[in-house]
């Protein structure tokens, strides 16, 4: 029961990641692509933690933390570049 519901939740999260990827590919301007990249970073962080639970290795939570840090720094750097302040 719990495993089935959790697999459905992971599937919905992967579907949301794919839809954000469609916006990343379509987005008419660079700002739209960066917004989609921000959402994809949060989704990938959550999915790495879900993979840590499914595979039973808690070291992947540290991987998710580092990925969230790097993704945040990347999004802020690209946004400052688009603003013209970098």
């Amino acid at each position: 029961m719990a495993d089935t519901v959790f697999f459905v939740a992971v599937g919905i999260a992967v579907l949301a990641l794919l839809l954000s990827g469609i916006r990343f590919a379509l987005g008419p301007w660079a700002v739209d692509r960066t917004v989609a990249l921000d959402a994809m970073t949060i989704l990938a962080t959550s999915l790495i933690v879900a993979f840590a639970l499914l595979s039973g290795r808690r070291i992947y939570i540290d991987v998710a933390m580092v990925y969230g840090l790097v993704g945040f720094a990347g999004v802020v750097a690209v946004a400052r570049y688009l603003e013209g302040g970098l």
Binding site: A39, S46, A79, R80
Partner: protein
Amino acid sequence: MAGIIGAFVSLIGALFFLLAAIGLLRMPDALNRMQAGTKATTLGSILFLFGIGIMQPDYLGRVFILVVFIVLTNPVSSNALARAAHANRKRIGAVLSPDALADDEARIAAGDRGTAGTKEATHGA
């Protein structure tokens, strides 16, 4: 029992992720997409990660640190994205009728170094 509760909390978080992705696809311009894509993913990641923490209580400490990190950093990146969209407002096609940030920038460029936001801004008629 805890596994079922955690799985349903994760399912609610994943539904917020799906709402955020639909908002990213369907909203008309970059500012609306930023609004839909960052707020809903913040709430969705809180629920999704705490659901995993309820299912596996060994992970709860690190998941709590990760949730605090996401809650602190996602509004910062959202603010930077909003300012980037505002700097490109001629191109993204957004309707910005009362634009206080542009008024402040114009006033500062005109040489008024007073405190921003204290004067009554003359918003569009």
